[in-house]
Structure formats: C-alpha cells, structure tokens
Amino acid sequence: MIGSHLLSVLLAAGDTAHASDHGHHSAHFPVALPTEGLGYAGLVLALPLIAMILNGVYAISGVRSKLPAWTTVACLGTAFAVVLNLYLKADIEHPVVVPLFEWINLSWGTGAISAPFGLYLDSLTLLWMLFVTGLGTLIALYASEYMESDVGPAYCRFFGGVSIFLLAMGCLVMGDNLLTLYLGWEGVGFASYMLIGYHFTKPSAVAAAKKAFIVNRIGDLGLALGIYLTWLHFGTLEYSKLFEMLQADGAMAAAQQAMAGGWEVAIIPFLLMAGAFGKSAQLPFYIWLPDAMEGPTPVSALIHAATMVTAGVYLLVRTFPMLELHPAAAPTVAWVGGATALLAATIGMAQYDIKRVMAYSTVSQLGYMFMGVGVLSTFGAAAHVFTHAFFKAVLFLTCGAIMHGFAGQLDLRVLRGLRHVKGWRIVVWTMFYASLCLAGFPIISSGYWSKDVILAEAFANGRPILGGIGLLTAGLTAYYTFRVWFRVCCGPKPDDHDLAKMMGDDHHGDDHHDEGHGEEDHHHHMPHAPKWAVNLVLSVISLAAIGSILLVPEHGWLEHMVAKSSGAGGVGANHHDLPADAGFWADPHGWMKYVASTVGLLGMAVAAWLHLFNRSAADRLRATLLASPLKAVVRAMENKWYVDELYNALIRMPLKIKGHALHMLDRYVLDILVVDGLGRLPKMIGRTLSPLQNGVLQSYAASMAGGVILIALLILVLPMLLDLLGGAA
C-alpha cells in the first residue's frame, strides 16, 4: 500500500514537466453502485419499444390515418417525462446502476462473460437522454405533418423506424456496460440505414443507405475489437467496475494498466475512437453523412444532426478514463476533429444545396466536439453537443419546411426572398436565430458559448495551431451559414411568377425532387406555407436553443452535469493558477470571447457583402477565382476535395477488381473442379460400391460392414503398426 503510494508520488514527481498534459489525472468522479427503486427508468426503453410494436400492428392492420404519428409522439413524450422525473429524483452527485435483467451469462471452466442488462444513471446519461427524448418527441410531431402525404404503410414504417431509433439510442446511452452500448450502437446504425433508405424505390437513397451502413461497419469493427480487448484485459465491461479499476490507484492507474497490458491495452482507445469517428462522421469516415441527407428531413434533423451522430462524442466522454491508456490518444482525437472541422467547412462553403451545406456544417461542428474531447475539455464537447442539437435541428427543420413547401427545391441560387412571402415568418426567423448560433454570434447565441469553451481550451492546453484552425473554421462557418440565410430569405421580393419558377422543374443538381409533397403540388405550382405542427415545433426548439444559453457558461448547469460523470477528467482541467499580474493574453479563456466574436462577425460581414448587398458579386468572384491560378482550389472545394473519388479509386476499385477476380475463380475453377467434382464424387463412389443397381439393401449392408471393419482395423492395427515402426527405428 505504502509502496504503491510512494511509486505514484515518484512517478508524479518525474512528470511535472508534462503537468499540463496530465493535470486531468487527478480528477475523481463517483463510481456507481447498484440500486433499487429506480426500476421505472426501464420505461425510457420500454416506451419506444411499445411505439415500435404498435406501429408494426398499424402497418399490418392497414391503418390509413395519422394514428402512428400520435402514438409515437405520445410514447416519446412520456419517455421524456420519465427522463425528466429521473433527473429530478435521482441524486446527480452519485451515479446509480439500475439492474433490469440478466442478459448474457456464460461461463466455462475458468472463464466467464456476463452482461447484465442494466441502466447506468449518472448526470451524463441524463443530459444526453433529456435532449434525445425531448428532440425525438418534437421532431416526431414535426414529422406528423411533414410526412402526411405518405399516410398509410409507409407512414407506419417511418414512425416505426423513429421508434426503433429511440429504443436503440436509449440502449446506447443508458446501458451500464459496453456491450449494451454496442447493442444500441448497432441498433441506431440499423435505424439510420432504414430511414435513409426510406424512399427505397429511389436508387440514390438506396445507395446512400448502403454507404452509411458500410462505412459505419468499418468503424464499428474498431469498436467491437476495442470492447473485446477491454473485456480481455479488464475482465469486465461494466462501467462501474471499469472506472473503479482505472482510478483504483490514484493518478497512475491508467498508465499502470497500460504498462501491464502491453500494446493490446494501449490500442484500446484508438479502437474505440475508430468506432466514434465512424458513427460521428469524422475523417476518414465522414463521407457517409452528406449522402445520408437522402432520408426525409426529420430524419436528417433527428438522427443525422442532433442525436445519433453525437454518439461518438458520448462514447469518448463516457470512456474518457480509458483515453489515458495511451498518451497519444487524446491528441489524435483533437487533430482528427480539427482537420474534419476545417475540411468540412471548406466543402460547405462551396455547396449550392442548402441541406448539403447543413450536412457539411454538421460534420464540421462534430469536428469541434472531438477537438473538445481531444484537448481534454469534455465539458466543452458536451456543451457543444447540447447547444448544437437544438440549433442544428432548427436549421434542418427549416430547410425541410422550405423543401416541403417548394416542391423539393433546395438550390440557394434559385430560392430567394422568402422573408417577403406570406406564412413563412416563423421559418425565416427561427432559421435566422439558428444561423446566429451556428455562426457564433456573441452573447445571444448558444453556439458562441459552447464553441468558445473548446477554442479556449485548445489554446490553454498548449495547442495553439489547433486553436487557430478552430478559429479559421469558425470564420468560414459564419460565412457559409449566412450565405444560406441571406440567399434564401433575403433579396428582392419574389412575385407569383418567380415563385412558380422556384417550384419549377429547372432544378440544378439536386435530387430531392419528389420528397415530402403530394402530386397536387404540381398542379397549382405555388409554394404552401407550413402549418401549425411545423411552426410549433420550430418555435419550441428555438426557445430551447435560447434557453440553452443559460445552461452553458462556465460553472453553470452543464459543467456541473459533466463534472459528476465519467467525463469529470475533462472539466476545468486546464484552469491553471495564473499569477495575478499576468497579462490579458495569458488566459485564453479571457481573450477568446473577443477573438472568436470578431472572427464570427467577420465571416458574417463577408457573407453579407457577397450575398446580401451585392448579390451578383459572388458569381463574379467565382468567375474571377476560376480564371486565376486558384481555380484548382475552387473546383476541388465544389467537388468536395474529390474525397469520394479518392476512396473510389483506392478502396472501391481494388475491391471490385478483387471481387471480379474471385468471381472468375469461383465460376471457372472452384465450380468446375471442386463443386462439380465433389458432386460427381458420391456418384462415382456409389457406382464403384454398388454394382448391383437393384440391390440397394445389400449394398448398404456391405458398405456398413465394410466401414465398420475399416474403422476397427484402423484403430486397432494402426497403433500396432506405428509401435512396430517406432520399435524398429
């Protein structure tokens, strides 16, 4: 005991040089104990399950009304109420484990694997579940109107998919061990696949669904291996036991574990990371997310912007103590996040499809979150997840409303002047506020507060280059966000002729043609404004986005929530005791507010110049750039840096060639030689063994007796022969 204490002191003494890297080691958080009495938490999983089953029943019994939507909204709303009740009732200071039932329990000889199905309720779980169920309910309500042209079996399928998603997301977030998390992880992957491919008769939707699923599988393989190695080394997958082990011996526990386990342990954080990068669309896996916009817009808002894609961040915050198993793990996360943020932002700048711009901005914002985890600010990451969930949901839902109203039109070169069209006020102004948030407008936008934490921590953690990338990205983000808003909502007032043209068939490179609107739209060729459900949901989520401002600032509610969870190691980690006379620039937390605001406002100003005041200047600028030596960059940005093409050449083509080669091998070598050969073999044996064609019984008897004699001889005589040979030698 004393020895180990001494050891840790000695190691700590030798480590002062890297104090800034290891400052978070000292953070302790309470480890959960099993408890009774909160069993009703299982309702959070049971309610979506009920909704799923009911939707299935509706589909079979041919319900042709909005009943599926109301059922789903009711179930998810109740689930939200249960989460809220849990939040009010549960003791946030002390996480609890709620055992539900025994799921897997296998033992053999000395080994055993057990995975109880239990819920891990701590502040992080509740934080995530609050916005997941809350947004789930609201977006289901929005979808009740958005999907109304599909009422019938497809409507049931849609809401069934949403219920499956909420069920799986509940497993992922609330499970008390990594195996349950994995179950949910695959579950949300399936729900995502199912909903992206909702228009399954449309080849591009099917291709997008497959792409999302396959790319995710690669990351999931990493996660599966990570979980396996965790089990192998630690002997358990339950969070409470894992965390206990990782902080058992004070500061050095993780490092000691890593030393004891060799590379198999050191690789665990990287494998978990691979899973997180796949699900959260980071480099090199991000390519699936933009295509996932083929799904109906409520799905994009709920799954591919607000909730599912933050599962990767959740995983890393949840297993934050395990990131310390290798010193390079956290920096890797930070750099991947930063690189993704910048890359996606540059692509987003050059897209014309507003939903695609939002998709790239999601990838980019997720990059910020990972940067936050990587610079050891789990608080920043979680805060950004939380604020982003609301304002990005609003952005997608407004895009969806526009697309719904304008017969699938999403091209920002075509849309304009929405501000002046009757009935679109709520859409326009909620979109405006959400754009402010995404752009990081000072003080009154929630995104400003959460993004600042991450950027400041990047500088405080001694990663100024990363912080610089983050700042640059913030500027680009502000630009492309307001590019969309100025283009779509501002500009000259469109008359009826212009509106009809926007609805017209001259779409430029967009393939959302036939989504979410009925046939009758084509007849009167006028946009229809959203109705009460859409407007209500947009207003409520926008209010939530405004409200989230109050929760984000330092020492606020959100920081408290993260500090009491397994992500505690990344809360306030980099607040160093600065000397009182340190200058203004010594504390990044101080100056970041001003710098980030300036950068954001600069981006908005550029957008305003190019897209509000000089609406033709953008095209001229593009033409000028294309004539200049910079044209390669512009083309590359418009073509998404050719990453899809690169993957196609490097991965898909070789696999295709290999597939064709194997097919040839199978068809011309294996089939002819082995399969047909084997097929003939029994016949040939049969022919040799039974010369009497009508004496089946006798031949069977002969074969049986022959076989028995052969085996008996083999067993009895062979050892003797071997003995003899051995003796002779």
């Binding site: 053999w108 097929g679 019984l697 069977y700 008897a701 076989g707 028995v708 085996i711 009895l716 050892p719």
Partner: protein, 500 residues
C-alpha cells in the same frame, strides 16, 4: 431388486398405458378413437413430470448412470415423445376413418391399427427411457431392442403401400445387422472382464488400465459396441439407411425416428463411455469417437447439400446433428454431457418441428415432400411457414434461436475439454450446413408458389405442435440460462456421484 422398481414408476405407467391405448384404439366410438393420440401425449407428459422427480432417487434405486443425469434424460425423452404423439395424430388409419365418417362402411376393428401404433410408440419411448436406467449389459441390450423393434413396425404402419414397406424392411434388416454388431461387442466385453454388471466392468477396466493397460478383447468389445450403437444415432458409417428410411416413412414417423432411437443411442453411448473410463477414456475409444464425429457430420452435411426432397434433406441434417452430439459425448461427463443433454433436447424440438410442418400439409391426401412444394408457404399457411423458418434457422444455429444457444454451449464444452480441432471441423460443417438450411428458410418466405397448392392436413395437432415449437425456439433462449443451469447441475451431480 424391489428398490429398482421405485425408480421405474414412469416406465411402468407407460407400459400400462400402452395396453390401454391398444384396446381403446379398437373402440367402436370414433370419439374415443380420436382421443387416443391425446391420451398418449398426456400420459407421456405425466411420465416426463414423474421422471423429472427421479432426480433425488437413492443410488440403490438407480441404474449405472447417476440418478440426476438419468432423470433429466428420461424426462426429456418422455416430454418430446408427448409432442411426437401429437404430431402423429392423423397419420394412421386415415382412409379407414374417412370411410367410416362418410358412412361408406362400418368400423371394423380388424382393419384398424391406430391403437397398436400408439402402443408401439409408447413401448419404444419406454425402451429409450429404460436405456438411461441400465445397470447391466443385458438390460442395456434389451432396452435398446425395445426402443428399436416397435419402430420397424411403425414405419410400415404409418404409411400404407410399397414405400412404407420398403423403408421398413430396409430399416429392419440393417438394424438387425447393427444389433448383431453391438451384441458381439457386449459379448467381447463380458468375455474380457467376466462381468455383466456395468459398475463391476467399470471397476475392472479402471484397475486394469492403471496396472498393465486394457486388454485387446475388452477394447475390441467396446469399439464394436460403440460402432453398433452408432446405428441408432445414424452415425457414419452406419448412417446409410437414414435418408432412405426417413424418406420412405411418413413425416410424423420420421420425426419419431429422428429423435427417439437417436436419444436411446446417445444415452447408450453415455453408459458405455462411463463404463470405459468416463472422464479419462482409453485412447482408442477417443480416436473412434473423434473419427465417427468427423465422418458423421461431414457425410451428413454433404448428403443434405444436394437434396431436393425435404425429408431427405432433413434426414441428412439429422445425420450431421448426430455428429455434433458425438462431439459433446467426447467432451466428457460434466460440462460435455450437460451440453449434450441440452443439445439433444433442443435438437429433438427443432427436428420434430420441421417434420410436424411436413405432417401438417398434404396434397390430395398424400404427403408433401419436395422442397419446392414449400415455396411461399408463408402466404397460404403463415404460421406453418414461420415455424419452418424458425426450426430451420434453429437447426442452422441462427442467433438468437434456441439452436444457437445449444450449439454454442456444446462447442464451448468441447473446446474446454481440449478438442479444438474437432470444434473447428464442426464449425466448418455448420457453415456448410447453412447453405441448405438457408434454402429451407428462404423457401417459405421468398420461394415461388408451387403450381399445385398444398392444403392443411385434417388433424390440427401437427400444425399446433409446429407452431408451439416455433414459438419455443424463439422465446426459450431468453430463459435458456435457467434450463442450462438445471442441466449443468444435473450433470455436476452425476460427476459427484461417480467420484464418490
């Protein structure tokens, strides 16, 4: 000797029931005749319950196998036997009953064979249960014969006409040959050790192996006995009859043949292996079972791959499953046999389920056999279609169906006992088997509807049994832990008894 009777209450009850059933089957009232299958099934379920109570029998009332293990085996046989009786309802006397009902002719006891059929069924099941209580070689031999002899007759009774007769004759003659083989083996064992009592033989074998090594006569005896009993299991090379006989018999009888003799054979293997050394078997016996397992599963799967006849296909599958059972037997008492017992039970259910689906269907009064006949079964008979999917999937080991749980346990037990190569071969075989199981899963779901539609058979019981089994296969995995714990406890108790 009177003590022994305490442990045989369920068997005695079944023998009495066999007589009752044989008489009731001749009753003039058709309602009573119709009750016969249900009565048989009810009796078997009661026997299963009684046999389960035999776990705590004192050693003097038990046979050579420990009472805890024997009780779970006997109870399992009777339980699955009850389901088999339900599946067989409507198999026998169909034309006669039809004629009587339509008033074309009066009921003639001389033409009726229903009572005898169920009596034979009960006798055969009793025989299989008695194998588990065997205490000497004679008992073992008689019990095995009691299991087999009625089945020869059942094959011919279950299906009027040439095909049933041909299958029956084939089955009988080859069976007689196999019997001769293991009887010769028993004789050699007796000659080598000088005792008929299994306990004595086990003691002599153990002491001899400790001193100078086991003599050639006894070893050869064990080898021959095991090979001969392999016929009951349809283990290679004595598996050749299986597919022909399974095809020739009616579906419900095939279901019976796929389980009861196989269970008897498996238990006889346990008895013989226990005698030959239990946990530390002689090297030659290990080699023999290893070879049998590999040959059986490989040949079974290969044979099933090319079949277009559903009964032949599942015949091949049944052979392959015997190979898996042999792996469990080789894994040794304790975990291995616990897994084997569980697997046997699960296999019995899945196999019965598959043939129950076939028994529940007909076309113009004759059986449905071709794989293609089952195409798009889901549309016309959804419950049967899905049951077939569940049973085939379970046979394949498709998670989370019960067959998967059983297979995983079996393979884990084998790995634990060090037979890794065997498990690898078995895994390859499982993968190869997936090819035809998937075909059987796909056929009712996606296959093309046959040109001539299939209809439901008159008796509702096969369909009900198939549905119940389908549901069980899907639901029980969630409670499989309890079952596995029970089985494992029984096996552990058995090992303890042997150790003392």
């Amino acid at each position: 000797m009177v003590d022994r009777l305490d442990g045989l209450v369920p068997e005695m009850m079944l023998l009495a029931l066999a007589v009752v059933v044989a008489v009731l089957g001749l009753s003039k009232a058709s309602s009573i005749r119709r009750m016969v299958p249900l009565l048989t099934a009810g009796g078997l379920f009661v026997a299963a319950w009684l046999a389960w109570g035999g776990k705590d029998l004192p050693p003097e009332s038990a046979g050579f196998l420990a009472p805890s293990l024997a009780a779970s085996l006997r109870s399992m046989i009777a339980g699955v036997g009850g389901v088999l009786a339900l599946v067989a309802s409507g198999t026998v006397d169909r034309r006669l009953e039809h004629d009587v009902e339509s008033g074309r002719m009066p009921f003639e006891p001389l033409r009726a064979s229903r009572g005898e059929f169920y009596a034979f069924m009960l006798l055969s099941i009793t025989g299989a249960m008695l194998v588990a209580s065997a205490s000497d070689l004679i008992w073992l031999f008689l019990a095995l014969e009691l299991t087999s002899l009625p089945t020869y007759v059942m094959v011919v009774m279950g299906r009027a006409g040439r095909r049933g007769a041909e299958a029956s004759v084939k089955y009988f003659f080859l069976g007689a040959m196999a019997t001769a083989m293991f009887l010769y083996g028993f004789a050699l064992v007796y000659g080598g050790t000088g005792s008929m009592q299994l306990a004595d033989i086990a003691e002599i074998v153990a002491s001899r192996r400790n001193l100078e090594g086991l003599d050639m006569v006894t070893t050869a005896g064990f080898l021959l006995a095991l090979l001969g009993v392999g016929y009951k299991l349809a283990a290679a090379p004595l598996h050749l009859y299986a597919m022909d006989v399974y095809e020739g018999a009616s579906a419900s009888v095939t279901a019976f043949l796929g389980f009861v003799p196989k269970a008897a054979g498996t238990i006889a293997f346990m008895v013989l292996l226990q005698t030959a050394g239990g946990e530390s078997l002689p090297a030659m016996v290990v080699t023999l079972i290893w070879m049998l397992a590999v040959l059986t599963m490989s040949l079974g799967n290969m044979a099933a791959l090319q079949q277009t006849n559903a009964k032949r296909l599942f015949g091949g599958s049944s052979i392959a499953h015997s190979g898996y059972l042999l792996i469990g037997l080789l894994a040794g008492p304790g975990e291995g046999w616990a897994a084997t017992t569980f697997y046997l039970l699960v296999y019995g259910l899945m196999n019965t389920g598959v043939f129950a689906v076939l028994a529940a269907l007909e076309r113009r009064g004759s059986e449905v056999e071709q794989v293609s006949d089952l195409g798009a079964l889901r549309h016309r008979h959804p419950a049967l279609g899905w049951s077939l999917v569940a049973c085939s999937g379970s046979l394949m080991g498709f998670p989370p169906l019960l067959g998967f749980v059983a297979k995983v346990w079996l393979f884990l037990a084998a790995v634990q006992s060090g037979h890794i190569a065997l498990v690898v071969i078995a895994a390859i075989n499982s993968a190869a088997g997936a090819w035809y199981y998937l075909r059987m899963m796909g056929m009712p779901l996606l296959g093309a509807e046959p040109s001539e539609p299939v209809e439901a058979a008159p008796s509702p019981w096969p369909a009900r049994a198939a549905m119940a089994i389908g549901v069980l296969l899907l639901v029980v995995p969630f409670f499989a832990d309890d079952l596995m714990v029970q089985t494992r406890e029984a096996a552990a108790a058995a090992v303890m008894v042997l150790g003392s």
